[in-house]
Structure formats: structure tokens, C-alpha cells
């Protein structure tokens, strides 16, 4: 395997030749489903920002909307998180993943009609879930607050989107796999497993006592580190060489990062001092520190790929997003490692530092954009929203943090 991947060493994201579909046809096959996903993601981003704004205003005016149980802080805040994760980040990630799978495989997207149905169903699920949180049906588990009547819909919708994605991958015309495809394939498998495990063990057949918290931490860590992280990395590894018109520095390093991250990334999330047997936080800390290896590999790889393309950064807006996403990802990863140390987390844990850190992870996946999807209007709207979300979220969080 190593031998074969070594031959891909200097290949650009779309190497080789063969009976492949022309890019314009691929884009045409992706247009409707990807646009539906990205447009819905954009709407959810606005919704989440409104919830987020209400939630942060309540810090300063506790009486604001206090007589409306639907909008009490404890409901608005999870509603915001869920709208952001499942409404925005997940849909944006899926949309960009579908397009990359088709483009990198040089094949038309399989069954775009089903994907549209899946996307609409996903949105029904998120709506129902957020509504459930607002009326007080929350499950009480972080990032899984959506009640039991919403999560199966999300799971089904994911299957309807995920199966055509896998079929598209299967029908690829390009024999050589680029590292982005590794990340995408892994992410596609990862989500149904963690989502079904977490839902089954927390909502439908709940485990006892603190095991619930352990399962939830495992899920949250896998969702942010692996699922969103992998799709974000796939996009970074795809767009950075493409937009800078430079080959990826090292395919070896990228694949090393892939395996190291897949093995060590799924173990984090249990903080030292949690009321669980001590081996769990210890194990979690060890593996989080191990993610330094893929993180360094990614840093070197991206840095070497990017070196010399500074002039392009000034001209290209998409490149700015990609670079911002990459920096956010690396920063988030570095902070995650630092926070794994008890000496550090003793101070930062339970503060808004932790959500700020996970926000950074989301930023990296949210830097995907509507590039080349055929609608300049949507693309610009998308970018405006993405930058808007960054500019709204960061100061408000920094502000709350300072206020604390």
C-alpha cells in the first residue's frame, strides 16, 4: 500500500487519465443536491447565530425573554449548538464532501435525486430536533440534545445521502486515490457508527450512571475531531494545492497523518478529574497528546505546500478561507493537546474556553465554500455568511469569556 501511494507522491489533486467525466458534467450532476445542502446550511447558520445572540444577550440582561420558557437560556443555548452542528456544519460538510468525491473520482454524482430527498429529510429532522429542544424535550446529553423522535430521522437521512456518496466513490473513474478521498471515506463511515452508538446507548437503551457521560464524551470528541475534522482536512488537502497551483508537498506525510489521526483522534474528550475510574481520563489524555504526531505532520505538509504562494493569498478569496480554516484547525488541535494536560485544564475546564476551542474546529470545516457550483450569487452569499458567522461568534465568545 505504501508502495502504491508513493507513486502518487507528486500528483496534484486530479491526476491520471482515463474515460473520465468532464468537470462541467460533474458539476452539473452535483449542482442541485450540493446547492440544496449548502443553502440549507446557510439558513441554519443564520438561525444558529440568532439563537446564539439571544443566549449571549441573556448574560447581560437575565430578564430578557425570561417569561417565555421556550427561550430560556438552557434551551436556547443547546438549540444554537444543535442548529450549528447538525443544521450548518453537518450539511456544509456533506455538501462539500459529495462534490469532492465526485470531482476526485472524476465521475458523475450517483442518484442526485435521492440526495436531495435525504437533504430535505435531514432538515426535517434538524427542525424537529431543535423544536423539541425548545419545548423542553431535550435529552440532556451534550451535542445529542435532540429528542428520540428526531434522531432516527437524521440517521435515515444520512443513510439516504451517504449511500449515493459511497456509490459515487465506488464508480470512480480515477484509479489513483488522493488523500482527501481517504479522509472523506473514513468520515462517511464514522458518522453512522458514532451516531447510532450514542443514540442507542443514551436514548433508546440507556446505559447506567456515568457511563452515559462517557459515551457522550466519546461521541462529541469523535464528531468534532474525526467527522468534522476529517471532512475539513479533506477540503484543506483538496483546495490548498488546487488554489495555489502547487502539488501537495508529501503524500506520505498526509497518509501518516490520516492513520495517526484515525487511531488517536477518537479517544479524547474525557477530562481529568471526571467522576469516572482514573484510567479513562488517563487514556484520553495520552491519546490526545498522541494527536501531536498527525498535527505536526499536517502542519509541515500544509506549510511546505503553501510556502511561496503568499502573493496568491492576497488575490484569492477562496484561498483566504482555506488558509483560515487550516490555521483554525491547527490551532484547535494544538489547544486540544494543551488542554489535555490536567495542569492546564484545571484552569480552563468548565469555562467558555472549551466551547471556544470546539468552535475553532467547526470553523475549519465551515470554510468550505460554494466554489464552482455555478451560482455566483449563492457563492457570494455563502462567503458573506461564513465570514459573518466568524465575526459574530468570535467577538461574542471572546466577550463572554472576558466577562467571566
Amino acid at each position: 500500500m505504501i508502495a502504491t501511494s508513493s507513486s502518487a507522491h507528486t500528483v496534484s489533486p486530479e491526476p491520471g487519465s482515463g474515460p473520465v467525466a468532464p468537470p462541467a458534467d460533474i458539476d452539473a450532476s452535483c449542482r442541485v443536491p450540493v446547492m440544496v445542502l449548502l443553502a440549507c446550511a446557510a439558513v441554519w447558520l443564520v438561525v444558529a447565530s440568532v439563537f446564539g445572540l439571544i443566549a449571549s444577550l441573556k448574560f447581560h440582561a437575565p430578564n430578557l425573554l425570561a417569561d417565555c420558557p421556550w427561550l430560556t437560556y438552557g434551551r436556547v443555548q443547546p438549540a444554537q449548538m444543535n442548529a450549528l452542528i447538525y443544521g450548518f456544519a453537518a450539511q456544509a460538510a456533506l455538501g462539500i464532501a459529495l462534490w469532492m468525491i465526485a470531482r476526485l473520482g472524476r465521475t458523475l454524482l450517483v442518484q442526485p435525486g435521492y440526495i436531495v430527498v435525504g437533504a430535505l429529510l435531514w432538515n426535517v429532522g434538524v427542525k424537529l430536533g431543535v423544536f423539541g429542544i425548545l419545548i423542553g424535550d431535550t435529552t440532556g446529553y451534550e451535542w445529542l440534545e435532540m429528542p428520540g423522535y428526531a434522531s432516527p430521522i437524521l440517521f435515515a437521512a444520512y443513510a439516504i445521502i451517504g449511500i449515493p456518496a459511497l456509490l459515487t466513490f465506488h464508480h470512480r473513474r480515477e484509479p489513483m486515490l488522493y488523500v482527501s478521498q481517504w479522509f472523506l471515506l473514513a468520515a462517511l463511515f464514522w458518522f453512522p457508527w458514532i451516531y447510532s452508538t450514542a443514540n442507542l446507548l443514551l436514548i433508546f437503551f440507556p446505559v447506567r450512571g456515568v457511563l452515559q457521560a462517557v459515551v457522550d464524551w466519546w461521541y462529541v470528541n469523535n464528531l468534532s475531531q474525526i467527522w468534522l475534522g476529517f471532512i475539513g482536512l479533506a477540503a484543506i488537502f483538496y483546495f490548498l494545492p488546487k488554489l495555489t497551483a502547487r502539488p501537495l508537498y508529501s503524500n506520505y506525510l498526509a497518509i501518516l497523518a490520516f492513520w495517526a489521526l484515525a487511531l488517536s483522534g477518537g479517544w479524547g474528550g474525557i477530562h481529568s478529574g471526571a467522576p469516572v475510574p482514573a484510567w479513562m481520563p488517563s487514556l484520553s489524555t495520552v491519546f490526545t497528546v498522541l494527536t501531536a504526531i498527525p498535527l505536526i505532520a499536517i502542519t509541515i505538509n500544509l506549510n511546505r505546500t503553501f510556502t511561496g504562494a503568499m502573493a496568491k493569498l492576497k488575490k484569492s478569496l477562496p484561498l483566504k478561507f482555506v488558509v483560515f480554516g487550516a490555521v483554525a484547525y491547527l490551532l484547535a488541535g494544538a489547544l486540544a493537546i494543551v488542554s489535555a494536560f490536567p495542569q492546564f485544564s484545571q484552569i480552563t475546564h468548565f469555562t467558555l474556553f472549551t466551547p471556544a476551542r470546539t468552535q475553532l474546529f467547526r470553523r475549519c470545516s465551515s470554510k468550505t465554500n460554494g466554489r464552482r457550483l455555478g451560482s455566483p450569487a449563492l457563492t457570494s452569499l455563502w462567503r458573506r455568511l461564513a465570514s459573518c458567522s466568524t465575526s459574530v461568534h468570535f467577538p461574542s465568545e471572546a466577550f463572554c469569556k472576558g466577562w467571566r
Binding site: T72, P78, S284
Partner: protein, 307 residues
């Protein structure tokens, strides 16, 4: 060259590893956890199921998303030990000699005073386990009786949020378990023993600023009913004064949900001594941080028995 199956298998393996490690293995260890021995009151197992109203209150707590601001997990960074002389016995000279060995800096007069004074007398405070055991080894042969007190330490405990760390046992019967990840407000793992007065909680829920002037907690007025006073005021009505008073002729009465939530909050007590969290429960005369409130509900036997 088709890497698809290879990547799938590798990913499957990686995910299986973390699944085994952090989902399956914890289930093996804790999935069949049973209530453990209560070291203070051996007749009762720990934990006990929460009373019915408190269990309903847990649902109110979940539904209102209280865990968005309140954690329920007390951290502990270590333990210190106090050694107290409870009975000097008859062989005073030997005891004084032993005391001088235990506390090399003390003078003979100080040691004499200590032995002659009313019992119990503190000999060592905030020392390591080794120092405490050494002191006991020196004092016991003299016929004197001494006690070692185990005191959990840590920032959360220093804040007064709890007496010992939270452990897995504390959450055995809860569904869902809401450990929380934010401390916009204080930790609530031990709020039932820290703030044991139901009326305080009712006022606090109705308008937190009545009892905590700078609180940013939202008021939960929707858990209360405002109604016209009938023939005579309800005994349950909140006693509101000054700026917080409601309009004349009306009274504020807690709904069932408010009562359930308060019952749940009062049931949150992480102060039982079990094997995992050794500590000495404070007795009345050496107690430093028991609340002075007199109208506290009768504390459960699990918590009030003195070791």
C-alpha cells in the same frame, strides 16, 4: 489499485479500538455497578434512589437545560490529614515527650498546655499521610488516644462547593446523568447540603437576584403562579418584600414543577463517605463549614452520622 476496502478496514479497526476502549470497556467495568457500602452508616447502601418528587425534578432540570450553566462534578486534587488528641491518657510525661517528637518546634510548655487543655486538641494540621501515620505511631504507645482526620482538598472544595470529589457511584440511579461542562453558575453536585433550605431555592428560582444580588441566572417566573389572594393567603406563597414584591392583593405560589425542581436540588448531596472517597465527616465541635441554617430539612441518615 483499489484502496477502498483497505481504507474501510483500517478505519473500521481504528474506530473499533476507540469504541472498545471508551464505550465497551467502561460498560464492562461499570455496567453492572451495584450500590456500595456506606462507610459511615453500614446499614444503608450508597447511593439510595432519589425520592419520587426529586426524580420528577430531575426531568424539570433536564427539560430547562440547567446543565448548560451548572456542572455536577466536584474535583479533588488531593487530601490532607489532621491529627487530633482526644484523650491524653494517664502517662502525661510520655505523651509530652511523644508530642515533642511529633512537633519538634514546639516547646515543652506548649506541649504541657496541650495535654492539660480541654480535649480534643489539634496536634497537626494539613499534613501529608506519612506525617499523620508517624505521629499516630509515636502517640499510641504512650496510651494517649488520637484521631486522624482525612480532609479532601482542591479548588472546588476550597470554594465550598462540596466536601469530596464526585465519583461514579454518585450518579448510579440517575437518568439522564447531566455532569455539565460549563460553570456559568456554581457546581451543584452538593447543593443539597450546601443550601438545604427549600424556601431559599424557591425564591432563587423565582428571581435569583432576591438572594444573590449580582446573579446572571435567568428568573424562572414561569414555574410560579401569580394569583389573587383568596380568603386568606396561601401558606406556600413566596414572601417577597421591597422591590421584588408583587402587586397588592396577589400572591406568588410555586407550581408542582418548581417544587419538584427544588426537591431534586435538595437531593443533590455528594457527601457520603464510601471506599473511593475516604474522608472524615465533620463532627459538630470541629465542623468548619456546615451551614448555620436552622430550618434545614432533616438530613438523611446517610449524611449526618458521625464517624
Amino acid at each position: 489499485m483499489n484502496h477502498g476496502p483497505l481504507i474501510f478496514l483500517g478505519v473500521f479497526f481504528a474506530l473499533t479500538l476507540s469504541w472498545f476502549g471508551l464505550v465497551f470497556e467502561p460498560q464492562l467495568q461499570l455496567g453492572n455497578a451495584q450500590p456500595t457500602t456506606n462507610l459511615v452508616n453500614a446499614a444503608q447502601l450508597y447511593p439510595q434512589m432519589r425520592p419520587g418528587q426529586a426524580r420528577q425534578g430531575l426531568d424539570v432540570y433536564r427539560s430547562l437545560g440547567c446543565a448548560a450553566c451548572h456542572s455536577q462534578q466536584i474535583g479533588q486534587t488531593g487530601r490532607t490529614y489532621d491529627v487530633t488528641l482526644t484523650d491524653p491518657g494517664t502517662n502525661r510525661a510520655e505523651v509530652i515527650a511523644a508530642l515533642l517528637k511529633v512537633r519538634p518546634r514546639a516547646t515543652a510548655t506548649e506541649a504541657e498546655k496541650l495535654v492539660a487543655g480541654p480535649m480534643p486538641q489539634a496536634i497537626l494540621k494539613d499534613v501529608a499521610h506519612v506525617a499523620a501515620t508517624n505521629a499516630m505511631a509515636k502517640l499510641e504507645p504512650t496510651g494517649a488516644k488520637a484521631e486522624v482526620k482525612i480532609i479532601p482538598t482542591g479548588p472546588d472544595i476550597a470554594r465550598g462547593w462540596g466536601k469530596r470529589r464526585s465519583v461514579a457511584e454518585d450518579f448510579l440511579f440517575d437518568q439522564p446523568v447531566m455532569l455539565g461542562s460549563q460553570r456559568i453558575g456554581p457546581d451543584l453536585a452538593d447543593v443539597g447540603s450546601r443550601l438545604p433550605v427549600a424556601n431559599w431555592h424557591l425564591l432563587h428560582l423565582y428571581n435569583p437576584q432576591i438572594v444573590v444580588s449580582k446573579s446572571v441566572m435567568p428568573p424562572y417566573r414561569f414555574l410560579f403562579e401569580k394569583r389573587k389572594i383568596g380568603r386568606e393567603p396561601s401558606p406556600d406563597a413566596l414572601k417577597l418584600a421591597g422591590n421584588f414584591a408583587t402587586e397588592p392583593g396577589c400572591e406568588i405560589v410555586p407550581t408542582d414543577e418548581a417544587r419538584q425542581l427544588v426537591a431534586y436540588l435538595l437531593s443533590l448531596r455528594a457527601d457520603t463517605v464510601i471506599f473511593e472517597t475516604p474522608m472524615t465527616v465533620a463532627t459538630a465541635n470541629v465542623s468548619t463549614n456546615t451551614p448555620a441554617a436552622t430550618n434545614a430539612p432533616a438530613a438523611q441518615t446517610t449524611n449526618s452520622v458521625v464517624k
